[in-house]
Symmetry: C2
Amino acid sequence: MGRDERGVTPQSEDFSAWYNELVAKAQLVDRGPAKGTMVIRPYGYRLWELLQAELDQRIKDTGHENAYFPLLIPESYLQREAQHVEGFAPELAVVTHAGGKELEEPLVVRPTSETIIGEMMAKWVSSHRDLPLLLNQWANVVRWELRPRMFLRTTEFLWQEGHTAHADEAGAMRETMLALGLYTEVCRDIAALPVVPGEKTPGERFAGAVRTFTVEAMMRDGKALQSGTSHYMGTNFADAFEIQYTSQAGRLERCHTTSWGMTTRMIGAVVMTHGDDKGLVLPPRLAPYQVVIVPIGRGEEVPAAARELAGRLKAAGVRVHVDDRDHLSPGYRFNDWELRGAPVRLELGPRDLESGTVVMAMRLGQEGKRTIPLGSVAEIMPGVLADFQAFLLRRATEFREARTRTADTWQAFADGVTSGWASAPHCGRAVCEDDIKAETAATPRCVPLDAPPSGGVCVRCGQPGAYGKRVLFGRSY
Amino acid sequence: MGRDERGVTPQSEDFSAWYNELVAKAQLVDRGPAKGTMVIRPYGYRLWELLQAELDQRIKDTGHENAYFPLLIPESYLQREAQHVEGFAPELAVVTHAGGKELEEPLVVRPTSETIIGEMMAKWVSSHRDLPLLLNQWANVVRWELRPRMFLRTTEFLWQEGHTAHADEAGAMRETMLALGLYTEVCRDIAALPVVPGEKTPGERFAGAVRTFTVEAMMRDGKALQSGTSHYMGTNFADAFEIQYTSQAGRLERCHTTSWGMTTRMIGAVVMTHGDDKGLVLPPRLAPYQVVIVPIGRGEEVPAAARELAGRLKAAGVRVHVDDRDHLSPGYRFNDWELRGAPVRLELGPRDLESGTVVMAMRLGQEGKRTIPLGSVAEIMPGVLADFQAFLLRRATEFREARTRTADTWQAFADGVTSGWASAPHCGRAVCEDDIKAETAATPRCVPLDAPPSGGVCVRCGQPGAYGKRVLFGRSY
Ligand SMILES: [Zn+2]
Ligand SMILES: [Zn+2]
């Protein structure tokens, strides 16, 4: 595709410009008027709805219930957990006036809901019979961003936040890992993101957490994107809000809590993992339209056949769209759906109709265009889409593996994080992490759960390794 | 049920106390820490999710697309439409500080989104081919309330807001009525609310609208609850935000816009339409649990049979819950599910099991308890639930009809609005509406769409009737 109005800067030239232009031109998002806010347009929002449905089902199937907590939180609530307020204070948006008056106590627009949910949990939990308390909320949150970037860092974003309370550490840790498992599965099976689940090092923990776990995805520029996090809070929030219960033995005990979230930045992850210079490439499980039919030529017969075909595809469970904008040339429409990432395009003209065939073009892959019998399209399509989904995951996995360097020397490490990730022993000291960051812009992404035991001394400072396995480092969004 | 901890004040004694106690004790909602905010608890939120799914499907089926617009709106946006800002200014919550600094321009937390969506529509619409633009958003909004009431008037609430742009008045009016039709249908078929669709009189219009339509429901205290509204904006917002398009003839034209919304106050409507002194009565289409099975006695056999029965009901598409809290007496659990409004309760004890039967108790109706064969429960249940749903709608319709008085004299009018609604000719003058309100606390609820033509002079002032049909008056929430 030439650089017409829909063209985007090639990835190789400027990945960041490619991304910014693409998310706008593919009509996923637009800038909102207030600094750093975004408007999620219907095509982008549909992606989010499809992801949300998958995640919500899994959250419910594992025994959690959805609820809704207030947007506005008294400022004093955040101050009850010292690390928490320290972490979030710089990002808060504050309501000082309401109903024409100045408020006695300012209200912060929730940046996350541990505090207000902690307050309610304390009210709802009294006996061991009330535990575990497994809650989830779908909501908007606001964190003031200095360097906003559509989907990745915006002043307001959408997410789900799970919040649970348990009788003891074991229960809370099982929950923390369960949530991480849901994220790993949704990333892999739905978004075709071969994420690495692992634990954050102490310096990268959530403000107020005892342990933080993450799923890390690699973008096509080699950078990491944290795609979901799950936190074990210990009794930090239970202490701050007095979330306690009477045990079976009749003793008053503090709860152990967790929280975990996945956000609209997942849309950015999908764009940067699968997209190319022609535009988006959407995994079928998330594509608003899995198949787009482009009828060619005017008359009545072709559009009617296109609609009939769409009906059969819909009946086969395929999300299909007929692009009948006949004031636009077929070529323009082809490019448009490449830009917008539809996995499969079907071209149907008078001659195809005569021969009882349709031309199928995949958004990616070496197959080129194929001519297939009209009668079999609906039958083969679910398989075609499943293959394409698998292909995207395989391609992203191979890319991640090729760009992950096992590094035992500083040079290998520095080379690794230039184009991707480095897997290396680390001493675990925050000063050493800071030093690495200053030198290379790379940070520890996680200590992968499934990394094999490995010895060795810190790749940077030579002190003993702290984790008994290699740590994954990379630059990140 | 006695006045134990779960008992509520009888409706006849104090309807308002009954409502406030019930929504809390049935665990639909809890008070949030900031004035007038609410926490929607899982049982209440599930109701909302079920309503949302029904409405969302209808919104999509009629060609609308969901999107998401920012929460925070520059204050100056609201000022562009004079009536709009006048109407909303007293209720605004304002963010003045963010990211540790005072903002150059304060941001209001959206009370509704006409302005910010108008701004984006102006950017997205340029040709007649871009019309109609049919958008919807599910979101939270904030309106500062002086006299908050859970679900009915809260500082923050959840809703959907449809926003559409059209080439002309005819298209926009068709849309306005289509949305009103969706609300009428969802109220009637899902929530069992026999609402009256009609047009608001000029004094009751939405701030900035040319015409406002509403669906009005009658609560069991005879008061009206506005349950959804649909507005034709004319070109008011198109003028303010320059939403315009080039027509087929090549002329620049202003769009005609609409907006329409339904909110979490619907939960309050369901409570106050169907509930009684024992608690909630939920229409099966909205009940989180349509059937609750209470196993009686300890052993292993009964709980296992209850789970097996639940499995069969679930397979038959029934939302079922087994209440196996065996530290609570059967009687306590029975009362609990009456309080929480489950349409059907199934009681299963060792003797039932022996005889291969189960005891079925409906939440309402004269049938009392029935003993039915265990083997046929799953088969008959969908019919039992459909009958119960129809029964609730019929009962509410009869109630509304019995409490609506056709009034041609002031005395009949004043009597009518004491216990319900009055249907009377009215002059249409705002001063006369104000006079009626001062005298009786009743306001014009709507001019019903399907009211037959009717002459007569104003029931209050004797001037000629303005609408050619009777107007519905009532006190309202
Ligand atoms: Zn080191
Ligand atoms: Zn009058």
